[in-house]
């Protein structure tokens, strides 16, 4: 699978990571190398094999519907980059 600069740019947009022009070529090359590595998977015969999302056979435990958390806004917002009036601030979002 050959990957090109345009593909990397699209992925970077999807992942919201700014790549500067200087490094895009390098990044494209190194990612192409990684993809060449993972392409080795294609040779494997996996017919009829169920994908394994978890290493364990365990099933999910469910939690009782009880409120256990108290208001810790002060502690959490003390480490926030930009807050006002108890709200987290981001540049204005236009829908």
């Amino acid at each position: 699978m050959t990957i090109e600069r345009a593909d990397i740019e699209k992925l970077a947009e999807l992942a919201r990571i700014e790549l500067n022009d200087a490094t895009i070529t390098e990044t494209t090359r190194s990612i192409a190398d990684v993809l060449a590595l993972v392409d080795q998977l294609q040779a494997a015969n996996t017919e009829g094999v169920t994908p394994m999302a978890h290493p364990t056979d365990a099933i999910q435990r469910l939690r009782p519907d009880v409120v256990t958390e108290t208001n810790q806004r002060e502690a959490f917002q003390a480490i926030a980059p930009a807050v006002e009036g108890g709200l987290y601030l981001v540049p204005k979002v236009i829908d």
């Binding site: 990957i3 593909d7 990397i8 992925l11 970077a12 999807l14 992942a15 919201r16 990571i17 700014e18 790549l19 500067n20 490094t23 390098e26 990044t27 190194s30 990612i31 190398d33 990684v34 993809l35 060449a36 590595l37 993972v38 392409d39 080795q40 998977l41 294609q42 494997a44 996996t46 094999v49 169920t50 994908p51 394994m52 999302a53 978890h54 290493p55 364990t56 365990a58 999910q60 435990r61 939690r63 810790q72 502690a75 959490f76 003390a78 480490i79 926030a80 980059p81 930009a82 987290y88 981001v90 540049p91 204005k92 979002v93």
Partner: protein
Amino acid sequence: MHNKTLAEIIAGLNSGAFSSVEITSHLLNRIRQLDPQYNSFITVTAEAALASAEAADRQRASGNAPLFCGVPIAHKDIFCTNGVRTSCGSKMLNNFVPPYDATVVENFARAGAVILGKTNMDEFAMGSSNETSYYGPVKNPWNIHCVPGGSSGGSAAALAARLTPGATATDTGGSIRQPAALCGVTGLKPTYGRVSRWGMIAFASSLDQAGPMARTAEDCALMLNAMASFDPKDSTSIDREVPDYTADLNQPLSGLKIGIPKEYFGEGLNPGTEQAVREALTEYEKQGATLVEISLPHSHLAVPAYYVIAPAEASANLSRFDGVRYGYRCEDPKDLRDLYMRTRGEGFGDEVKRRILVGAYCLSAGYYDAYYRKAQQVRRLIKQDFVDAFATVDVIMGPTSPSPAFAFGAKGDDPVAMYLEDVYTIATNLAGLPGMSLPCGLVDNKPVGLQIIGDYFDEGLMLNAAHQFQRATNWHQRTPEGLE
């Protein structure tokens, strides 16, 4: 004092041979003097450690001492520590001070441990050389031109330099075992689900596990006793009784069937490493174990499968780092997109960015089946290899890493070369099995590690096998020159 093992420290504190304040001060001084050379600590919590040591000495005097009361250890900087900066080796979290503790941290606090500080690591646990940390690379105390391994390079180096007797660490593809091997210390990755992941910053959720690193198997057993617990806050935590991992350390090994995977002794294995490992296996035979050649036929697919699954999970796990609620935020973002793009572009290092992009690619429309789904199918085949093997053997052994510590920059701009460092360790994580590494030789005065892989929840047996080896040999006691 700094050569003492955890077991010796516990005994010494109990007998009154020394106090917690004494040993803690000693180690803090040593860190101050020596760590500038190795850079194994990101944060040293000297004041808190001494205060904690004082309190521990008082508590011990009152006759109420839990297992690790007053015993100094270090935490890998991936575990959230309440009130103490937790960076995960990244600029993105350089200013992150969590208001909560990881369960591993809580467990050690309850056990009375004194925390010397937070150890250095590859950024977001992605790496095998500790070269990607925002805080600079860690140097291998055996050879400062060489890497200590990664991602838990800081924990491993601090142990090797005798700056701490024990350190917590994490392993996603080999990040406990490989640095343990390269630094001549002992480290164990437990069965997936044995140790809680709550408060442990996530890299690849279905692969990450926390584990102990120390200078002996006995010490690892002691640490695992404190670390392991069922945690209802972690859905993947297994509800299973925690045995006393020190109970069976001295079981004789006669009759132990050791599987030797032929795939782990092929091309790419350094001859010196191979020799050291084979000699170690001879020692096991001397103790009455039988070596059985086995095959793990899908071994060659482990690294490719891992480099789909781990980046895929990481790409989602690291999306939360966006400058909104905590951590790094770019300066003066002009709109929302700018906030995200620059915060993440500036906050993450190159390897992290690379893996996020690879992960996004493998999950993207049109590629999901060929990459992600395929890798998860291969994962099941790899697990089956081990299930089949454990039907005939008790433990599996082989080299931990293909060669001893390599020079900084040796893997250059070739990410794949770096990834192949984990060729023997990665399959264990994919299957969720426990694995450990212990020192078994030196090549050019650089340590070699023997890997032991156990069946699910067989940590006790593995530690037993490792301990018996360490009673008969002294590789684990070797110290880099000048650091005795």
